[in-house]
């Protein structure tokens, strides 16, 4: 691993660099900036819903714009680029290659994201993160909707370029002495998620193009006024974005595979089962997209096929969980901040998975469809599992990136606040959904149960926000004034790190 900030360099040297750690650093900074921007929107949304009636947001249109940009930002401009940051830092080192296979392409893939983010934020579209027709075709105001479409188009191209780079780096540039069977599981996670991207994204690229031409009046693919079918868009969208959920979660699991053995002071329990589970997840991710659409009038047989397809992900996910638990078993576990985030992430991953099994069962799906249950389930995955894994890895990377240690106690306070906050927010959202509250509403009738649960959720969101603010302060302070890290063993775990030779040969020397 290499030092980035320990030896100050002009910012333009990093910005115009094509070295994988520099590009990784750019991804890291950008993704964390967008995390805080998207998080602020979430806080506004939760404060608005603290009580029935308008509170701080002027009207429902503004509310719709806020949760659209919140979702788009956190999925496409935080989680995905954060995974790219980690991949850029670690994958070439793990496969023992000097850089990514195509360094310039790598830098281009990154530099496509800031303009895409600008399009999304300057437009501030209002049609939710999946731009559901016919509203998105007929009524969504321009130019916000068109800017969102172009922004997503650019993000999609960036993702495909990044994925090609990861696949080629891993399969073609890895050291000849390193067989795939011995490659670290985190590198495997990037290989499998990149393969999913290559297969899944083109469908959404086509759907976006069709949406754009529909909006321009050149076609009517999804416009029912001219015989188009909005449900076709849903199929195209979910064919991409159900696998995309796995693109988000698989690297986070890969990050946990790096942290848990290290802090348990044991090797991973079963490398081969981890590989098998990643490959299984990559395949079955394409067998379940229509479980998002049970309510669209599918036949019983179709629904059953997708229910079974969805359940097929359970054994692979369970293999990861059991692998983690078996690795911890018999270890001497140091509960430093990265390990706390990983264990918390596993617990919430299991809870989110259990909710997903319930969701995939079509009888209950009809009860929970478009309710707050869905919001709770999805957020438990993206925040409780993916973001927890990512936050843990951000703490894990911190000494390698900056050469300094973060404040350990503040990191643990961040975890505790976030864990309690996540449970308060997302578990309560599940129950609120069962009580019938629909999602994506600006206002709601003053039912006492709804009010109480919305207030619990908002309090949980405030805890999350306080935790995030502590994190930001901790990182900014520690970057400049933290204790210098022992680069041989920053977490005082003993043993050898996987790639000690890299620590001693930073490329800037």
């Amino acid at each position: 691993m290499v030092l980035e900030l320990q030896k100050p360099r002009p910012i333009w040297q990093i910005m115009f660099s094509t070295h994988h750690t520099d590009v990784g650093l750019l991804y890291l900074i950008m993704s964390l900036a967008f995390f805080f921007m998207g998080g602020v929107l979430a806080l506004f949304i939760r404060i608005e819903l603290f009580l029935p009636g308008p509170q701080i947001i002027a009207d429902s249109m503004t509310f719709n714009r806020m949760f659209t940009v919140h979702g788009t930002t956190l999925i496409f401009l935080f989680i995905l680029p954060f995974a790219s940051a980690v991949g850029n830092y670690f994958v070439p080192i793990m496969v023992r290659y000097k850089d990514m296979a195509y360094p310039k392409l790598n830098a281009i893939a990154f530099w496509m994201l800031p303009p895409a983010g600008a399009l999304v934020w300057l437009g501030f579209a209002d049609f939710t993160w999946y731009a559901q027709p016919p509203y998105s075709v007929i009524s969504a105001p321009a130019p916000a909707a068109d800017m969102w479409i172009f922004g997503l188009k650019i993000i999609g191209i960036s993702q495909v370029l990044g994925s090609i780079n990861f696949i080629v780096t891993i399969l073609k540039c890895k050291h000849p002495d390193l067989p795939l069977s011995k490659m670290p599981l985190m590198a495997w996670s990037f290989l499998s998620s990149s393969l999913i991207v290559i297969v899944a994204i083109p469908t959404f690229a086509a759907a976006l193009l069709m949406l754009l031409t529909d909006r321009m009046g050149m076609s009517g693919f999804f416009d029912p006024n001219v015989g188009g079918d909005p449900i076709a868009y849903s199929h195209l969208f979910w064919f991409t974005f159900h696998p995309e959920v796995y693109v988000l979660v698989i690297p986070a699991i890969g990050m946990m595979y790096e942290i848990i053995p290290r802090f348990s002071r044991k090797p991973i329990f079963s490398h081969s089962s981890g590989v098998f589970a990643f490959i299984m997840l990559a395949m079955v991710s394409f067998a379940s997209w229509a479980h998002h659409m049970y309510a669209t009038g599918m036949s019983f047989t179709e629904k059953t096929v997708f229910m079974v397809g969805t359940l097929a992900a359970v054994p692979a996910s369970a293999m990861h969980v059991f692998n983690f638990l078996a690795t911890m078993w018999g270890g001497r576990i140091k509960f430093a901040t990265p390990m706390m985030w990983s264990v918390g992430g596993i617990a919430l991953f299991f809870a989110a998975g259990a909710g997903g099994v319930v969701n995939s069962a079509m009888p209950l799906d009809f009860i929970t469809h478009d309710s707050y249950w869905v919001v709770g389930h999805f957020h438990l995955f993206v925040m409780g599992t993916i973001a927890f894994g990512s936050f843990g890895f951000a703490y894990y990377m911190f000494p390698y990136v900056t050469g300094r240690m973060y404040h350990e106690k503040l990191g643990q306070v961040h975890f505790v606040l976030s864990f309690v906050g996540a449970i308060l927010v997302f578990f309560t959202q599940h129950i609120l959904g069962l009580f019938g509250m629909p999602r994506r509403v600006y206002d709601y009738p003053p039912f006492p149960e709804w009010i109480a649960m919305n207030q619990i959720i908002t309090m949980g969101a405030v805890l999350l926000a306080i935790g995030a603010a502590i994190w930001l302060g901790n990182f900014i302070y520690s970057m400049g004034r933290g204790k210098p890290a022992d680069m041989e063993d920053p977490f005082k775990l003993g043993g050898k790190y996987y790639y000690p030779y890299q620590q001693k040969t930073p490329h800037h020397d």
């Binding site: 078993w329 018999g330 069962a361």
Partner: protein
Amino acid sequence: MRSKIGLLVVFTIIFIIPTLNYAFAAGDEPGEYLDRRVVIWNLFFRMMVVAFTIGAVVSGTMVWLVWRFRESNPNAKPTKYEETGEW
């Protein structure tokens, strides 16, 4: 070990296939004898019982693992990998 896994797979298949057969037994015509909704709800409730049981076991195991194998536990001892430093 392999035979035990094989046996588990066989028992699982024996359990699942008849259940799915029941769910598909009825045709699409009205007046059918079997109420598919009742069958699928029964399947769902059975799944929930299994899910909550497994959930309780896994969550309990995780809590115990965290408590028992933390380095500050009086019974904690170095793993065999710490001697060689290879893990």
